[in-house]
């Protein structure tokens, strides 16, 4: 395997007495897209600033393309010598330069002919050919973000860091710009790390997702593994909607007993009291027959158009929220039989 583009080893960082990053470890392979997913204020941006060299870690080591850029034993390599480019939240195009001037900003030791060609190629890549001489303020937010990306790609960096690159955009255009940006990164064969608090964005576009909670990385995995086999309950709840029930594991038969009967377990869990975690899409209503896992009474139902939400009270008094097709949406008081598809997640209670 080739040298990883980025290795972060045991990095911690504090602002005053407040520890924002705690023992961070992360490996990013060349040519991959890694999302750092976490709630706002979780230290994600600080991690990017440590990698790009605008803040210094208290302890730990960062290696970029096989070169240690900061550690306890070496002086920190300054940002301009790290081969790491950044795309800030609002794009931050240089207002005093044209689109071409912005893209060519990092191309300094190249001939003007080469520079021109590189700018033209990048403009073509982001679909803005002909915009060379436009001023940043003449562009829409999405266009600005694409130019900011082209500017970061121009010097062919070892790593591109994007800080919530889509959150400043209108919801209406966010998805489209995201698709374009990710496609451009893949076409360019770039290695990118971006931070986001949007689970869908991370799961749908990244090769690898690092979930960051309370200043440390709780789990790093590909999106499918992360969703299907989260290592902790808080990770499971953060990456997707979940219904949580109390349950008990009696033995090593891979079964958990809960308000919805005996269910197969997907992950490893010890004997004892557990939280059972079900994804809403696992839950379906069936006619009350012998195959159903449990039967409850609908207590609330809300109609949204093509689907709706029903809250069902189980005999154990637990509430289960289900998203169902709007056709035949149960009404309050109706008896509802629930079947669970596939294995469930169980986490030992602490």
């Amino acid at each position: 395997m080739s040298t990883p583009a980025l290795v972060v080893r045991g990095v911690s960082h504090s602002y005053g007495n407040h520890r924002v990053l705690d023992d961070i470890n992360l490996v990013v392979e060349q040519g991959s897209l890694t999302a750092i997913l976490g709630p706002s204020g979780g230290g994600k941006t600080t991690l990017l600033r440590l990698i790009s060299g605008f803040e210094q870690p208290d302890v730990g080591e960062i290696e970029i393309a096989g070169r240690v850029v900061v550690s306890a034993h070496t002086t920190s390599v300054p940002p301009e010598k790290r081969g790491v480019t950044i795309v800030p939240q609002e794009g931050s195009l240089f207002p005093h330069l044209t689109v071409a001037g912005n893209i060519a900003f990092g191309l300094r030791h190249t001939s003007s002919a080469e520079r021109k060609k590189r700018v033209a190629d990048l403009l073509d890549m982001i679909g803005l050919t002909g915009f060379e001489n436009r001023r940043p303020e003449e562009l829409s937010g999405g266009m600005q973000q694409r130019v900011a990306l082209a500017r970061a790609l121009a010097p062919s960096p070892d790593l591109i860091l994007l800080d919530e690159p889509f959150s400043a955009l209108d919801t209406s255009m966010r998805e489209q710009v995201r698709e374009e940006v990710m496609a451009t990164l893949r076409n360019a064969g770039a290695t990118a790390v971006w931070v986001t608090h949007d689970q869908q964005e991370a799961l749908s576009t990244a090769d690898q997702v690092a979930v960051m909670l309370h200043g440390h990385i709780a789990q790093t995995a590909d999106p499918v593994t992360l969703y299907r086999a989260p290592v902790r309950r808080d990770v499971a709840e953060f990456v997707g909607d979940a219904v949580v029930l109390r349950g008990t594991v009696h033995g090593s038969d891979g079964q958990v007993h809960c308000g919805l009967g005996n269910l197969p377990i997907a992950n490893n869990v010890g004997v004892g009291e557990v939280d059972v975690l079900l994804r809403p899409e696992q839950l379906v209503t069936t006619k009350a027959d012998s195959h159903a896992h449990g039967v409850g009474v609908a207590t609330m139902s809300r109609f949204f158009g093509h689907d709706g939400i029903v809250v069902v009270r189980l005999p154990t008094d637990e509430l289960v929220e289900m998203r169902l097709h709007a056709m035949n949406l149960p009404q309050p008081g109706d008896s509802v039989a629930i079947t669970v598809n596939g294995p469930v997640l169980a986490f030992n209670r602490l």
């Binding site: 602002y15 005053g16 790009s52 060299g53 605008f54 803040e55 210094q56 300054p78 940002p79 301009e80 010598k81 790290r82 790491v84 480019t85 950044i86 800030p88 609002e90 931050s92 240089f94 207002p95 005093h96 900003f105 990092g106 300094r108 900011a148 500017r151 970061a152 121009a154 010097p155 960096p157 860091l161």
Partner: protein, 512 residues
């Protein structure tokens, strides 16, 4: 966010140099007082004529400040909060007095009304010269008053009177007090107008003590009192500037609420404004035109006039360039590499701003004789004196414009492979260019108008526009003053027009 980045030496060293030269005058004063001893110092200070001087200076400062606040706030209000026609034109006309030096305006009034000489004349002329210092910041602050708040006040039953006095003026009181303190500082340090009006205050007496055989001990002792008074004002000013911010959620302001003025009210407002403009701009301009048409005792030499123009322009330009070059590292240092050394350096430049030109001039004469022999009585020393006086104007302007540009832009530049210094040159400076140019224009304007430092430090035998005006006016040869006065007004009008345009454009962008 805390950024533990130390300023590079290429920024620190020039900044430090700037701080040191601005502290020269203070060093001189302390040295003088220490040299002559406490006894001599207290002898000078604690005597009747000094007490009378304090009372006169205080009376003048207080009167001018009060009148300037009244006129300045009124002018700011009608140009921003009413629907009066020609607001923009009115604002520009009302700020023209900034381009007219106080001594020129004083001589203009005296040539028309010789009886004005004394306290009344000094108050009149200084008020007309100073109210723009209140008007401009208050107008800018009034533009930022949230229109939605005014609408809320209206919907809660407030009258126009309530809106003005309970809401709008309350919110801009920081700007008012700040402007008032600027006026007070200006009056304390003004030399030309009080000398022309023959009203004995500190600056004039210090000049006299200096001229009459150079009595350095008396000049230094009196300067010390003046500096202390100025220091009190500066401390007050900075404490007030730090306070009071406007609480506001969101940023969308599309409209500006203006008091709908009826035709008769509008006529009254115009009439009052016209009176102020006539007194502040009309009298000097008409007088100057009259002078040009008069026959002179000394034949006006076009060559000499031209020479003075070139000299004034040169000094202004050199000072503007030098001040900008020194202010740039200071501004960058305090904003981008905030630490106690850079903050101290920035603060120290403001000390000299509180020093009257006359004190700076005397201390540089002293330093010139002792330390800077080669440039004594040469152009560089004069430029140095002007830089010491007006550096804060450049620093303030540069600081603001760098604060307004996003630090992210510089980080992007660093990540694209440009080092600290290259980033400053290719990103920070170009983006802050409007503010840098604005600061340079301010310095140039101030330098061209400046009188006492120029009088004392100019190279032997050279005359600037200001010194020529002074020379002929003091012997009431107004016909000879005419051409110089016209030239000075035109030379000062250009930067003033640039500054007004910037203010108006900024106001527009605030509104849209």
């Amino acid at each position: 966010m805390n950024r533990k980045v130390r300023a590079p030496w290429a920024v620190m060293l020039p900044a430090l140099f700037g701080a040191i030269i601005t502290l020269l005058p203070l060093w001189y004063l302390v040295d003088q007082v220490v040299r002559s001893g406490w006894g001599a110092f207290s002898d000078e200070i604690f005597q009747d004529r000094t007490a009378r001087l304090v009372v006169r200076s205080f009376l003048l400062t207080a009167s001018v400040t009060i009148f300037s606040v009244v006129i300045g706030v009124f002018a700011a209000w009608i140009t921003t909060m009413t629907s009066i026609r020609g607001r923009a034109v009115l604002l520009v006309l009302l700020s023209v007095p900034l381009a007219i030096p106080s001594y020129l305006s004083a001589f203009a009034w005296l040539s028309w009304q010789p009886g004005l000489s004394g306290f009344r004349g000094a108050v009149l002329v200084l008020t007309l010269a100073c109210y723009p210092y209140v008007m401009l910041p208050v107008a800018a602050a009034l533009r930022r008053v949230d229109p939605a708040q005014i609408e809320v006040a209206r919907s809660l039953g407030s009258s126009t009177f309530d809106v003005i006095f309970r809401l709008a003026l309350r919110q801009v009181r920081t700007a008012i007090v700040g402007g008032a303190l600027l006026v007070a500082l200006y009056v304390l340090s003004d030399f030309g107008a009080v000398a022309a009006m023959r009203y004995e205050v500190f600056t004039w007496v210090i000049y006299g003590a200096y001229r009459s055989g150079f009595n350095p001990s008396r000049a230094a002792s009196l300067s010390m009192v003046l500096v202390l008074a100025a220091a009190v004002l500066v401390v007050l000013e900075s404490r007030i500037r730090g306070r009071g911010s406007l609480a506001r959620i969101g940023k969308g302001v599309a409209r500006n609420i203006r008091w709908k003025t009826s035709l008769p009210t509008m006529a009254v407002l115009w009439l009052i404004s016209a009176l102020v403009i006539a007194a502040g701009v009309g009298v000097p301009v008409v007088s100057v035109i009259n002078w040009v048409q008069r026959d002179s005792a000394t034949a006006v030499n076009a060559g000499l006039v031209f020479e003075s123009i070139v000299t004034s322009f040169q000094i202004g330009l050199f000072t503007a360039i030098a001040a900008t070059l020194i202010a740039l590292p200071i501004g960058i240092g305090v904003v981008r590499f905030t630490s106690w050394p850079t903050r101290t350096i920035e603060r120290s430049t403001y000390i000299s701003h509180a020093l009257p030109g006359i004190v700076v001039a005397i201390s540089l004469v002293y330093a010139g004789v002792r330390l800077l022999r080669p440039v004594y009585q040469e152009l560089p020393l004069l430029v140095l004196g002007q830089v010491v006086l007006f550096l804060p104007l450049a620093v303030a302007s540069i600081r603001t414009s760098i604060e307004q540009s996003s630090v992210h832009l510089e980080e992007v530049s660093r990540s694209l492979g440009l080092g600290q210094m290259l980033t400053i040159l290719k990103v920070t400076v170009p983006i802050a260019l409007p503010g840098i140019a604005g600061g340079a224009a301010l310095v140039m304007l101030a330098t061209v108008k400046e009188l006492p430092t120029t009088l004392l430090l100019r190279p032997t035998g050279t005359e600037t526009l200001a010194t020529s005006i002074w020379k002929y006016s003091t012997v009431t040869d107004y016909a000879a003053v005419g051409p110089y006065a016209v030239a000075l007004m035109l030379l000062a009008a250009v930067p003033t027009a640039v500054l007004s345009a910037i203010t108006i454009v900024k106001g527009r962008s605030h509104q849209s």
